[in-house]
């Protein structure tokens, strides 16, 4: 329950429809896309503008009530999971594209605008917004900034942080900050970089200016099938070494291929152990040259089948299987758990071997889908939530996969964020002094710790209790903390 003084205060300036308190109104907000975790929020506020947001935050600050910001709830790490005694702040009503300037190639938008809507609005000018998380039809640009979202085209076009120029943020005490500018840099520390991927911990994003790019003249996709995952992985490195930066470079293993094929009939070869989808974009001539180079490379690497899409329809079909990979896996298993580690590409065979071993050990099948170009793995662990203990087993196995990613020099999250999901593995990836810096950075923006508390950065006590295995510079982790 929220203090009545807060609710009364909110009712004073929020329209009736902008404050939800009845259980039946709150249910849709009980989780984000990581639906294994659920919690009913104490109340939901749906402000209509920046002024209302500042007022809400100021009031919550006065009443010492935590706030969890939420875009369209498509996040995969529980970043927008409500907290029992917190106000859930939905940015859904701030959904206007404020303006698009085709000459300076920028779009100024509110945080609740959908990612795809920006590209659609820019399309008449021959421009688009590059980062394209798979949820782009639904996900909000504010959520993209909060999570520093990626997508299929990151290797060539970067993450959200590379495509955002300016962000307006309201801090927990109601202060408005403008980070970045419409110039290419700003004086002082790069706080724009800090806010990207900050998971709603530092401030509430109220307006975003993104960079728009010229639509490539042409894009062409090639499918290359291999009889082993190792060969496919090797080909990925060879393509990069040949001086090609594909717009997209995706990999699927046998289980993922079969599931996708059964679902959308993309025409993937049924004898392949792994396949690569390689998209080259750019100027017409550049694409022709690039496709030739890639063709030679994959052939040299032992591809058993190579197909190049000759028109847009064929291109869409080839991509359809990859884009439907998650729902396709959803059809062959009651539930699946999506991981998000990133590893150096050279470690791919080793990591896949170990994942296969873990799969056997736990008796849980794994379908592998990767953004191979940037080493970002999405192993999908197949499980059945209705079987007693299976979710716990899945989470444990998932944790081991993440620790494996750290062990080979990678990271526990490439693009989905830490949220609540990977908070324990943060204890393995970072040492105490680094976690202390993170906590202090949060405190610099939010001294009372009221914004999305408990997410993204674990408390040192949590790490000590977990007995995380991180050994930093030869020291035991958290020697200063008591152990239980």
């Amino acid at each position: 329950m929220l203090p009545s003084v807060l609710l009364t205060g909110l009712r004073r300036f929020l329209p009736k429809a902008s404050l939800l308190t009845k259980p039946e109104q709150l249910v849709p907000y009980e989780c984000d896309a990581l639906s294994a975790y659920r919690q009913m929020p104490a109340a939901v506020a749906l402000p209509e503008d920046e002024i209302q947001i500042a007022k809400i935050l100021r009031l919550c600050h006065q009443c010492n009530v935590p706030v969890v910001a939420r875009g369209h709830g498509t996040g995969l790490s529980g970043g927008a999971l409500p907290l029992k005694n917190a106000l859930l702040l939905s940015l859904a009503k701030l959904n206007k594209i404020i303006h698009i300037d085709p000459l300076s190639r920028i779009a100024k938008v509110q945080p609740g605008v959908r990612n795809l809507a920006i590209s659609q609005a820019a399309a008449p000018h021959g421009l688009y917004y590059a980062p394209d998380p798979s949820s782009q039809i639904a996900c909000s640009i504010g959520g993209n900034v909060a999570e520093n979202s990626g997508g299929i085209h990151c290797l060539k076009y970067g993450l959200t942080v590379h495509n955002v120029l300016e962000v307006r943020v309201v801090t927990m005490d109601g202060e408005l900050l403008t980070l970045g500018s419409q110039a290419l840099d700003s004086p002082g520390y790069d706080l724009l970089a800090l806010i990207n991927g900050s998971e709603g911990m530092l401030g509430v994003i109220t307006e975003i200016t993104v960079k728009l790019l010229a639509k490539p003249e042409r894009a062409q996709v090639m499918l290359a099938a291999f009889d082993s995952v190792e060969k496919a992985g090797h080909a990925v490195g060879e393509i990069i070494a040949a001086g090609i930066i594909p717009a997209g470079l995706e990999m699927m293993d046998k289980l993922a291929i079969r599931a996708a094929e059964a679902y959308v009939h993309a025409g993937y070869p049924d004898n392949a152990e792994a396949l690569l989808l390689i998209e080259i974009d750019g100027v017409n001539e550049e694409v022709s040259d690039g496709i030739h180079v890639v063709h030679d490379v994959v052939q040299r690497c032992g591809a058993i089948e190579i197909r190049t899409a000759t028109d847009d329809a064929e291109r869409a079909t080839l991509w359809a299987g990859r884009k439907a990979a998650f729902p396709a896996v959803g059809r062959i298993s009651p539930d699946y758990y999506c991981m998000d580690g990133t590893i150096p590409r050279s470690k791919l065979p080793e990591v896949l071997r170990r994942i296969a071993e873990l799969s056997k050990e736990y008796g849980l099948p794994v379908a592998n889908v990767f953004h191979a170009g940037d080493g970002n793995l999405h192993p999908l662990i197949l499980y059945d939530a209705n079987k007693a203990g299976e979710l716990t087993k899945t989470e444990e196995m998932g944790g081991k996969i993440l620790e494996l990613c750290i062990a080979v020099g990678g990271t526990i999250t490439g693009e989905h964020g830490v949220g609540i999901e990977k908070i324990n593995q943060m204890c393995s990836q970072f040492a105490t002094p680094e976690l202390e810096i993170f906590h202090a950075l949060k405190a610099a923006f939010d001294p009372l710790g009221l914004l999305n508390p408990g997410k993204a950065v674990p408390s040192l006590y949590r790490c000590a209790e977990l007995g995380a295995m991180h050994v930093h510079h030869g020291q035991l982790p958290h020697p200063e903390l008591p152990r239980f």
Binding site: D190, A193, L194, G282, D374
Partner: protein
């Protein structure tokens, strides 16, 4: 002496430390006031596999050594860093955050940084980011330190994302006035052209096209203009500021929205219109940049603070962030803000 020990000692003796690589960019920022702490002992490439498209090197490694190693594999640093001196180091590039002509088309220093290791003002060894291209675990401290001019810690190791070198580059020159050049730079950037640099200088728009030979040649056909044979020499001179227009005692760098109309005193427009090099012995450029929605840096010269002042809430926030990394004030933070 071990850097962490040196830091502890300076804290005990209440001394300030100015971190320095080769000193090639010592002119940049406000005048140093501390005892020099050299990173020149921290040298060497730690990891470089062209297939990973990343390089990890110690902060004191020279850009020369790094670019030579990358060149052998036909790769490059995407941000085309200015050296301003033979000994320029990777750490210096990160700490100053200075990028070259390719920046508007291939990204800035901060865009290419994937991870850093540093020693903070308590002498603690810290590691942020990593050696992989995508990483959203923890706040992005690796990018926060880019351009922080040694006020948050001593960088010891950096990992950078690379790009393949374009197989072909050509430079075109077209005669036109400043207004027209700014307009054209913006218009061309909105078209699918393989642009990699642009400048308006001495009454001419100069652009560089990079990529596959076929693509570059096709673009040259579309854009016209005069083909400059020694394009590489021109861009190097622009990047290193050895052209005569940079010979002045008060050079301002105005970072503004790319479509900003011409600004008085402009000697050169760069970065697709987003940077204006202005010569002015007063601080008028600071007000002009602010009015245009940007900021001005006194790049070379004295008499004014090097960097545009921050608003009160932003200055507070900077202070709080600095204290996190350097609670004893051991680093020469005045190079950025006094």
């Amino acid at each position: 002496m071990d850097i962490a020990v040196r830091i502890q000692q300076a804290i005990a003796e209440k001394k300030t430390l100015t971190i320095r690589g080769s000193g090639s960019k010592a002119f940049y920022g406000n005048a140093p006031t501390g005892e020099l702490l050299s990173t020149q002992g921290l040298t060497g490439i730690v990891a470089y596999d062209p297939r990973e498209l990343t390089i990890t090197a110690r902060a004191g490694t020279t850009l020369k050594e790094i670019e030579a190693a990358l060149g052998k594999n036909k790769q490059m640093l995407p941000f085309e860093p200015p050296y301003f001196g033979d000994g320029a180091t990777l750490g210096g590039s990160i700490a100053t955050g200075l990028s070259g002509p390719r920046r508007p088309y291939a990204g800035a220093v901060r865009d290419a940084v994937l991870g850093v290791e540093l020693i903070d003002g308590r002498g603690q060894h810290l590691r942020f980011g990593g050696r992989v291209i995508k990483n959203v675990a923890g706040y992005d401290v690796s990018r926060l330190v880019v351009g922080s001019l040694g006020s948050l810690g001593v960088l010891t190791e950096v990992t950078i994302k690379l790009l393949p070198q374009p197989s072909c580059e050509r430079t075109l020159s077209l005669e036109m006035n400043e207004i027209k050049a700014i307009e054209i730079m913006n218009q061309w950037a909105a078209r699918p052209l393989p642009l990699s640099a642009s400048a308006w200088i001495a009454g001419r728009l100069v652009v560089r096209l990079s990529g596959a030979e076929s693509a570059v040649n096709a673009a040259v056909g579309k854009l016209g203009g005069e083909d400059i044979a020694d394009g590489a020499v021109f861009w190097a001179a622009l990047k290193e500021q050895t052209l005569p227009i940079f010979e002045t005692s008060s050079l301002w760098r105005l970072s503004v929205p790319s479509t900003t109309p011409p600004i008085a005193g402009t000697r050169c427009v760069e970065w697709g219109g987003a940077v204006r090099w202005v010569v002015d012995s007063s601080d008028a450029p600071r007000h002009q940049a602010l009015a245009a929605g940007g900021h001005a840096t006194l790049f070379r010269g004295i008499g004014y603070p090097a960097f545009a002042p921050l608003s009160a809430p932003m200055a507070d926030l900077h202070q709080r962030i600095r204290q996190i990394f350097d609670p004893h004030g051991v680093f020469d933070a005045g190079r950025l803000y006094a």
